[in-house]
């Protein structure tokens, strides 16, 4: 038997594979293809206080080994979530985590307070890294003072597990991870999408209505891996690795580089079963290598 479990503080996860916000809907979209409860956790799509329509079409462009998106946090707001989504997702036998977003610090605080009251949501992922909104989002995650301010404010009202999702669109991501740790975050997840763009030469226009968007998929994996490695060496809280993980070997690279767990994003669009396949793949890899606990490989290359 191989132990795949890990924990953030006293919150246990049965395995290190979670799904990334905005790429797995509310889980329900995937029920035809897999048993969602087999995952270590799911991070639901970005949620805001008020409903949001997001950016206009086109909000997606394919690029070599990846895609750009500028969805812009389309969601129906927390009221709708509590009434219509929460009853269903609370039935999953796994950790269901809400990704929260806001224009102002007060929005994040109000959302955290609402979600604190939902028994079956043991953690939030504080998204200070969305590149596709005009206010809030990445603006918080690319400035050290605003990052500190929003993390501190949310920490003050939220007593369950707080994961801070970091932006790669900064000079030194380690500084942001350190601030999250100092302000009492229980974990950091990285990376969100890299700001990019693409031009449609047929119509001689930007491919996205917003001109720029967030790049995800295998194209960003080496960058994500480097950042996860840097952060994992610099903080004590668990690091969740995200970025271009398509299969088991990608996931294992992140674990060896220092990630305690991983999130599967864009891969779920191409193979809706990618996340559960990776759970099984990691189990087999560890058994093959004769490890009995996943902890034995986490950050292996960072040990002396």
């Amino acid at each position: 038997m191989v132990n795949l479990g890990f924990s953030i503080g006293d919150l246990l996860f049965k395995n290190p594979v979670l799904t990334a916000s905005g790429t797995f809907g509310y889980g329900t979209e995937f029920e035809d293809f897999m048993d969602v409860s087999k995952l270590g956790g799911i991070i639901l799509k970005g949620t805001t206080l008020e409903p949001r329509e997001g950016n206009s079409y086109p909000r997606m462009a394919e690029t070599p080994s990846g895609m750009l998106n500028s969805v812009g946090l389309q969601n129906r707001g927390i009221d709708y979530f509590e009434k219509n989504i929460y009853p269903h997702v609370s039935g999953y036998n796994t950790n269901v985590i809400v990704n929260i977003n806001g224009n102002y610090v007060d929005d994040y605080v109000a959302l955290a307070e609402r979600i604190e009251k939902l028994d079956k949501i043991p953690a939030i992922e504080l998204n200070i890294s969305c590149p596709n909104v005009k206010m809030g989002g990445m603006a918080f995650g690319t400035n050290l003072d605003s990052a500190r301010e929003v993390i501190k404010a949310v920490r003050a009202v939220y007593s369950k597990k707080l994961i801070v999702k970091l932006s790669p669109n900064v000079t030194n991501i380690v500084d942001f991870a350190r601030i999250a740790e100092e302000e009492g975050a229980d974990s950091v997840s990285l990376i969100n999408t890299l700001l990019g763009m693409s031009v449609d030469i047929k119509n001689m226009k930007p491919s996205l209505s917003t001109i720029t968007g967030g790049l995800s998929g295998p194209a960003i994996k080496p960058v994500a891996l480097r950042m996860v490695w840097q952060v994992a060496k610099s903080v004590k809280i668990p690091v969740i690795g995200i970025g271009g993980i398509m299969n088991t070997s990608d996931a294992i690279e992140f674990l060896i580089a220092g990630a305690t767990a991983v999130q599967i994003g864009t891969a779920s669009f191409i193979d809706p079963q990618a996340s559960v396949k990776i759970v099984e793949g990691i189990r087999e890899y560890l058994a093959d290598k004769k490890f009995s606990d996943i902890k034995e490989i986490i950050g292996l290359i960072n040990r002396d």
């Binding site: 809907g25 035809d32 997606m60 895609m67 779920s268 669009f269 191409i270 809706p272």
Partner: protein
């Protein structure tokens, strides 16, 4: 209706003209029930440039022989890769996806309008209408005589009207110029094709108070309602083309 992900075997790859071909697929397992208007997310193997799946409509289904067809136009690298598939190869599909066309009321007259590869979902619809006791007419628009496809197939389901842009066959002009539309006698029009054609047909239907459903071809990331990339603006807010569509009543769209 449950969606599934499955490797299907290519039973045939038939070229209709320079850039349109039909793939016939068969499964090991029994193929699921599918509805006209639904589509599949097709995986393109072998190139990082065709990283995402490509949405392709269900063109024709033969439950007896456990096969179905996709009619595909080469539009770029992904569809070009598909055109090179050979008998015996496998193709990975997520399907059946999306909603479907609605049936007309009893006794109503319906017309199917398609242009170019926009005929793809309409053959399945025409056959379905016929087996439900309707006799739909079909109006097809092509660039010229060489581009005409699937004429025989549609003829078996009802009356077929033709337009070509250069007048080399049928009436000259676009579908909306055809004389069959000059005196509105239909209760329901279904349309699939390029955006400009959908909008022209929708305009005609609005003016003449004819119910109309169009099938949209928005860019898709996932095809299953998870990425919210495929949205279309409607009177009910932004909806997903992949799950709320691809078929929409024109009165819902903000056109």
């Amino acid at each position: 209706m449950t969606k599934r992900i499955e490797d299907l075997k290519i039973k045939g790859n038939k070229r209709l003209n320079k850039d349109i071909f039909i793939l016939e697929l068969s499964g090991n397992a029994k193929i699921p029930e599918m509805k006209p208007g639904q589509f599949a997310q097709v995986k393109i193997e072998g190139s990082p440039e065709t990283f995402l799946r490509r949405p392709i409509s269900i063109h024709d289904v033969d439950y007896e022989n456990n096969t179905f067809k996709l009619l595909i136009q080469i539009a770029g690298k992904g569809t070009d890769t598909l055109s090179r598939l050979e008998k015996g190869d496998f193709l990975n599909l997520i399907y059946p996806l999306g909603n479907s066309f609605s049936l007309p009321e009893k006794g109503e007259r319906s017309l199917l309008v398609g242009g170019g590869c926009g005929v793809a979902p309409l053959l399945f619809l025409a056959k379905n209408l016929k087996s439900n006791g309707y006799t739909p007419d079909v109006l097809l628009g092509y660039r010229n005589i060489e581009r005409i496809i699937e004429y025989q197939e549609f003829s078996q389901t009802g009356k077929v009207f033709l337009t070509t842009e250069d007048g080399s066959k049928g009436e000259k002009g676009f579908v909306t110029d055809h004389s069959v539309l000059s005196s509105p006698s239909y209760d329901m029009i279904y349309c699939c094709g390029p955006d400009s054609m959908l909008k022209a047909v929708a305009g005609y239907c609005k003016k003449n108070r004819i119910r109309c459903e169009v099938s949209l071809e928005n860019l898709m990331g996932c095809g299953i309602g998870a990425c919210l990339c495929c949205i279309v603006e409607t009177i009910r807010g932004n909806l997903c083309t992949c799950t709320d569509g691809p078929v929409f009543n024109i009165n819902e769209l903000k056109w």
